[in-house]
Symmetry: C2
Subunit: 325 residues, 2 copies
C-alpha cells in the first residue's frame, strides 16, 4: 500500500510542483479578500488529482506542450464547488481546517466561488477550443444539479442505488471524467481515444466517491480530518447505508431508519449502524462496486501501448480504491 | 416620456417575444426544483434589456442570422447574479415579489445561480467563438469581484466616488457592455465598431446603475416594488449620498453619517437625508453625471449610418436615464 503511494509520488513530484505554481500564478484577483478566501480553500492540502489527471491524459496522448495552465481549470472548478457545497451542507471542517464560510462569511464564500468558476472559464476560453469550453460548461451544469439533487433528497431513507449513482456521477465523476477528456482533446487525440480516457475518468471518479463515502464509516477520524458519520448527520445517504437498508430485514431496517432520521445520533447508535452495515453487506457491496469501477477504468486504458504514463494512470486508479487520495 | 416608452416598445415587441420564448427553451434543467427556482427569478418582470441590446447590436452590425439564442446568455448571467446578490445582500423583495432564497432556501439559490451561470457558458460555448467566451468569462470575474468589493465596503461612509464608479462598473456596466460587444463580435464587426458598441454599453450601463441608485431616493415605492432607502439600509452608499457627504459642511455631514450608520433609521431621518441630498446637490450631481454618460453612449453610435436600429439604441439610452427600464 505505502509502496504504491511512494511509487506514485516519486513520479508525480515535478508535475505537482508545476501545478502548485500555476494555481498561484493564474488566480489573478484584484481584491485581497478574494485572494485570501480562494487560497484558504485552494492551498489547504488538496491532492491535485484533477489537474494531475488532465496533465497525464494529455501526455499519454502525445501532447508535447505545457498543459499545466489548462489543468488549473479543474482545481479552480473543484475549489469553487467545495466553497458552495460546504455552505450548502453547513459543513464545519474540511481537511482538518475550519471551512471558508465560517472564516470569511457566507456571502464571501458564495462570491469567491463564483470568481473561481469564472477564472476556470477564462482559462478554458484561452485555449481557444470551443470543444474544451463545452466540456467545462457542461461539467458545471452537472455539478450544480447533482448537488441540488442531493439536497432535495436529504434525509430520504428511500434513496435508491440508481439515484445515488446519478448523484455521485454528476457531483464528482463528471469533473474527473472531464479532466481526462480535456487532456485528450488538448492533445488532439482521435475521438475513440478521448472516449477511452473519458471512460477511465468516469469510472475512476465513481470509485473515488464510493471510496470517500466508505471512509465516512471506516476511517480513522484524525486521519480523515473530520468526524465519522458526518455524511449521515448531514442527511446524506450513501451506498453503504442504501445497500444495507435494502438488505436488512424489517425490524433492523426500522431500527436503522430511526437512527438515521435522528441526525444527532449517539456514538452507540453509530456503532449499531456500522455493525449492520457489516452484517448486511453494505460495506462489502460498496467496496466490490468501487473495485469493479476501477477494473473498468483500467481496462479503458488498453488502447494505449505500455508506457510510464500508462503505468502511473493504472497505479492512481488502484490507489484511489484503497484510500482517499 | 410615455411617448418615448411607447415608441421603444412598439418596435421591440417582436424581439422581446422571441427572447421570452428562447429563455424558456434553453433553460434545460433535469430537476423540477431547478426549473422552478430559475423561473422564479427569470420570469418575474425583468425587462430583458441585456439580451435586447445584444440582438440590436448584432443587427446594427449587419448580422443576418438569428441572434436570440445567444442573447439568452446575458439574461441567464444576470439572473444568476441576482440570485447570489439577493442572498449576499439579505434582500427581501425584488420587483414586488419575495426573493428566491426566501421561497426556495439559501442553498437552492446558491446552486441554481451556479446552474444558470453554467447554462450561460454552455450557450456561449455553442457559438464556437473563443472571443465571445472570453468576454463572458471576463464579465463573470468582474461581477463577482464588484459584488465582493461592495460587500467589503458595506457601511463605509468614506467610500469615494472613484471606488463607487469602479464597483458599479464591475457590478452592472460590464455585463451591459459585454452584451453590446458580443452582438458586434457575433456579426463579425471590425474591432473599431465593436469598441464603439462597447463604449455605448459601458456608458449606458453606468448611467443605468446611477439612475437605479437615484430611484432609491426619488421613486414612488409602489412603482419601485420595494421600499425606498433600501440600499442605505443594506449599508450601500451610492453616488447621491457619497457626493452629498463630500459637500455637506461638518455638522450636517456628522448628522448624515449618524443616520447612515443606524441601518434602522426612521422615516423622519430618511426625509432629513433626502433634504440634504437636495440641499448639497447629491441628487443633481448624480443626475448630471448619468446624463453625461448617456451623451457619451449616444456619441459612440456616430460610427453608424442612420437606421431604425440606431434610433432604437438612441431611444433606449434616453429612456434608461429617465426611469428604471
Amino acid at each position: 500500500m505505502d509502496e504504491l503511494k511512494q511509487r506514485i509520488y516519486s513520479r508525480i513530484q515535478s508535475d505537482l510542483s508545476d501545478i502548485e505554481s500555476a494555481l498561484h500564478e493564474n488566480l489573478n484577483p484584484y481584491l485581497d479578500l478574494v485572494s485570501k478566501t480562494a487560497k484558504h480553500i485552494l492551498f489547504s492540502g488538496g491532492k491535485r488529482l484533477r489537474p494531475l489527471l488532465m496533465v497525464l491524459c494529455a501526455r499519454i496522448c502525445g501532447y508535447q506542450q505545457n498543459a499545466v495552465k489548462t489543468s488549473t481549470i479543474f482545481e479552480y472548478l473543484h475549489a469553487a464547488t467545495l466553497l458552495h457545497d460546504d455552505l450548502v451542507d453547513d459543513a464545519v471542517v474540511r481537511r482538518g481546517t475550519p471551512v471558508a464560510h465560517s472564516v470569511y462569511g457566507n456571502s464571501t464564500a458564495v462570491l469567491v466561488g463564483d470568481f473561481l468558476l469564472a477564472r476556470a472559464l477564462s482559462i478554458a476560453a484561452e485555449t481557444g477550443r470551443p470543444e474544451v469550453i463545452k466540456v467545462i460548461a457542461g461539467i458545471t451544469e452537472d455539478m450544480s444539479q447533482g448537488e441540488i439533487h442531493q439536497l432535495m433528497r436529504k434525509g430520504a431513507t428511500d434513496l435508491s442505488e440508481t439515484e445515488y449513482l446519478e448523484i455521485i456521477s454528476r457531483k464528482t465523476a463528471v469533473l474527473i471524467q472531464g479532466a481526462c477528456r480535456v487532456g485528450a482533446l488538448l492533445a488532439g487525440a482521435p475521438e475513440d481515444v478521448a472516449a477511452s480516457l473519458s471512460e477511465y475518468g468516469l469510472n475512476l471518479g465513481l470509485a473515488f466517491q464510493m471510496a470517500d463515502d466508505l471512509l465516512d464509516y471506516t476511517a480513522d477520524a484524525s486521519v480523515l480530518g473530520k468526524e465519522l458519520g458526518a455524511d449521515l448527520r448531514e442527511g446524506k445517504l450513501t451506498l453503504p447505508v442504501i445497500h444495507t437498508l435494502s438488505k436488512a430485514p424489517g425490524d433492523d431496517a426500522v431500527r436503522m431508519e430511526k437512527i438515521i432520521k435522528n441526525n444527532d445520533f449517539s456514538n452507540q447508535d453509530f456503532e449499531t449502524l456500522i455493525d449492520m452495515m457489516n452484517k448486511y453487506g453494505g460495506i462489502r457491496y460498496t467496496t466490490n462496486m468501487a473495485s469493479e469501477k476501477i477494473k473498468t477504468a483500467k481496462a479503458a486504458l488498453s488502447v494505449f501501448q505500455p508506457s510510464e504514463t500508462k503505468l502511473l494512470l493504472t497505479d492512481i486508479a488502484d490507489y484511489a480504491l484503497n484510500r482517499k487520495f
